[in-house]
């Protein structure tokens, strides 16, 4: 098979994470307490490929680019990074996508700054770009186009941009612009260095192509955009678009035909699919889930919002009704990622005034607690993310967040604190770096660590990796959690002995910031 356009990424992206989407987060950390190869096996095993080197499952975003190009008549396909050599000898264009090329997004940057060690996603990507077959093809005239949700990171890494010979960086929804770029590249025309697809250049629902091959863990998009307008989030900059059910079904069918019996419904808030404003649409949501279960034994939600969980349950008993559709002999729990962001009402008012809607933002801590109780009662396991270092954050804000964490102690969940990364409407704000850490941040990280350790052990044992088939992975994770618990005790002792105070005084010297962040 000859391809004019090869689409790929590094191993941390071209993998199915053992069928456990959440294990993908492990790729955002540096290898701790084990060799990198073992770390990579846990989070990013090599996926099944066909005899042509095409992965059975590939990241959904890359599948969309592949679909746009194939629909436009190009010879393009996603190729596993271990099978690039034979294709790059004849291909004219290499397209690469990534969630976090240089480990500058949360939580990668946080683990990097705290440990001083490069996360494996960054290491893996840089290794890919330095491969002899990539360098050789580039030397012979290969055009390289990169994009995806981490495209913005190239603006902070022009040295690598230059070193890797990247011709074009595409930031934003790329389905429309990629066809024009491919045409130019294949015709030998000059390519722009950088393209940012603004809100007026995003594809309409009809223009969004449908995937041709299976996506990782059966992920299918159900909508794009989000009406809540949180200022730190880039998704809210895009217009809101709902996929019709028949379009979703066609993508579910592609995954099912490839043998996948699971799916992840992707949206910034699954519960507002088909909504009128923020008023949920129970009929459409029940139809969506019934449809998904027709093709999948198990399903997960990518994201929901806590306000929508509380409101939809209190008004429509919707969480109960949806889990009645989802739970059966194949599935008895549901995973989801949720932005908790802060426990501070002042910060919530300033940066995410609509996050609690339809409740007033002053109720945010109560909305969080009520929603968490609903999720717990319905065996929905959230991975919550908090933002540390929002602009104008005070010790009082941090104290309110710490207090809220105490109220969440009994609810099954993982809570991951993330350092503020300037994105969305806050792209021009300063980065949160290790020397900005205050006692309040340390206290929050400490509470999150103990909370997450407690519940991670419960989740791994009781929910996530049951059965003999998962035993090796389950035991690897249990050993890792035991190691983290031991380390946490050491850190706790270190903090109690007042070492943090003295460390703060010399933090300028020990910061060991990644060079790229230091430059930023």
């Amino acid at each position: 098979m000859k391809l004019d356009i090869v689409i790929t990424s590094d191993r941390t992206m071209i993998t199915n994470h053992h069928g456990r989407e959440f294990l993908g987060f492990v790729a955002t950390g540096p290898p701790i307490g084990m060799p990198e190869r073992l770390w990579l096996w846990i989070c990013a095993p090599k996926p099944k490929v066909d005899k042509l080197g095409r992965p059975l499952e590939a990241p959904y975003g890359l599948r969309k680019i592949e679909a746009a190009l194939v629909d436009a008549g190009f010879h393009a396909a996603i190729i596993d990074p271990d099978h690039l050599g034979s294709y790059l000898r004849r291909a004219k264009v290499l397209m690469i996508g990534h969630h976090d090329y240089f480990a500058m997004a949360s939580p990668s940057i946080e683990w990097w700054l705290l440990t001083g060690s490069e996360p494996v996603n960054r290491r893996s990507f840089i290794r890919l770009m330095k491969r002899p077959e990539v360098r050789e093809a580039k030397r012979k005239g290969l055009r390289v186009i990169v994009g995806g949700p981490a495209a913005w990171q190239w603006l902070w890494n022009t040295d690598y941009w230059r070193e890797f010979g990247v011709d074009t960086v595409v930031d934003g929804e790329a389905e429309k612009v990629v066809v024009e770029l491919a045409t130019k590249a294949l015709n030998g025309e000059e390519l722009p260095l950088y393209v940012y697809a603004g809100p007026d250049d995003v594809p309409s629902i009809e223009e969004i192509p449908e995937i041709k091959g299976a996506s990782v863990n059966g992920l299918v998009e159900i909508m794009r955009g989000c009406p809540r307008g949180c200022r730190f989030c880039p998704v809210t900059l895009r217009p809101l678009r709902y996929y019709p059910l028949d379009k979703i079904e066609r993508e579910l069918r592609v995954n099912a035909n490839a043998g996948l019996d699971k799916c992840v419904l992707h949206s910034e808030d699954v519960l507002i699919y088909g909504a009128r404003g923020l008023e949920p649409n129970p009929d459409v949501l029940l139809k969506l889930h019934t449809l998904a279960k027709k093709y999948c034994k198990t399903l997960a939600w990518s994201h929901v919002t806590l306000a929508e969980v509380k409101y939809s349950q209190e008004k429509y008993k919707l969480i109960t009704k949806l889990t009645e559709v989802i739970y059966d002999e194949h599935q008895q729990h549901l995973g989801v990622q949720i932005g908790l962001e802060t426990g501070s009402v002042n910060l919530a008012k300033e940066f995410m005034p609509a996050k609690a809607a339809p409740y007033p933002i002053e109720m945010w801590p109560q909305v969080v607690e009520d929603a968490m109780a609903i999720l717990h009662d319905h065996r929905i396991v959230p991975a919550l993310t908090l933002i540390l270092g929002l602009p104008s954050e005070t010790e009082d804000d941090l104290a309110q967040t710490a207090e809220l964490l105490d109220r969440l102690r009994d609810y099954r969940s993982l809570i991951v604190p993330m350092f503020f990364v300037p994105l969305g409407a806050l792209r021009d704000r300063g980065w949160f770096l290790r020397e900005h850490l205050k006692d309040g941040h340390i206290e929050i990280m400490r509470r999150c660590l103990w909370h997450s350790l407690k519940w991670a052990e419960d989740i791994v044992s009781s929910f996530y990796l049951k059965g003999a088939r998962n035993a090796p992975l389950r035991w690897s994770l249990k050993l890792f959690l035991a190691y983290i618990r031991r380390k946490a005790v050491e850190v706790e002792k270190w903090l109690n002995e007042g070492e943090w105070e003295s460390a703060k005084e010399r933090v300028e010297e020990i910061a060991a910031l990644p060079p790229v962040v230091a430059r930023a």
């Binding site: 603006l155 230059r162 260095l193 950088y194 021009d428």
Partner: protein, 70 residues
């Protein structure tokens, strides 16, 4: 969609770009040709502008220098 095309010569600062945009605030797509001795310097010259943009489509071409360096 309203378009704006701006050329930045070697002696022009990013202010020329900001000024051009101010004179045509309705522009939804900006194409910028940036002169620099190598094409990646073109990006570095207007990086701050690119980082801060969220609302408009921007296309950047390098002008002059070694176009085929990549």
């Amino acid at each position: 969609m309203s378009d704006l095309v701006v050329e930045l010569d070697a002696s022009d600062g990013v202010e020329k770009l900001v000024e051009a945009l101010r004179s045509k605030p309705s522009a939804r797509k900006i194409t910028v040709y940036v002169a620099a001795d190598d094409r990646f310097r073109s990006i570095e010259r207007i990086k701050e502008f690119l980082v801060n943009n969220v609302s408009r489509t921007i296309v950047v071409y390098a002008k002059g220098g070694d176009q085929r360096e990549a």
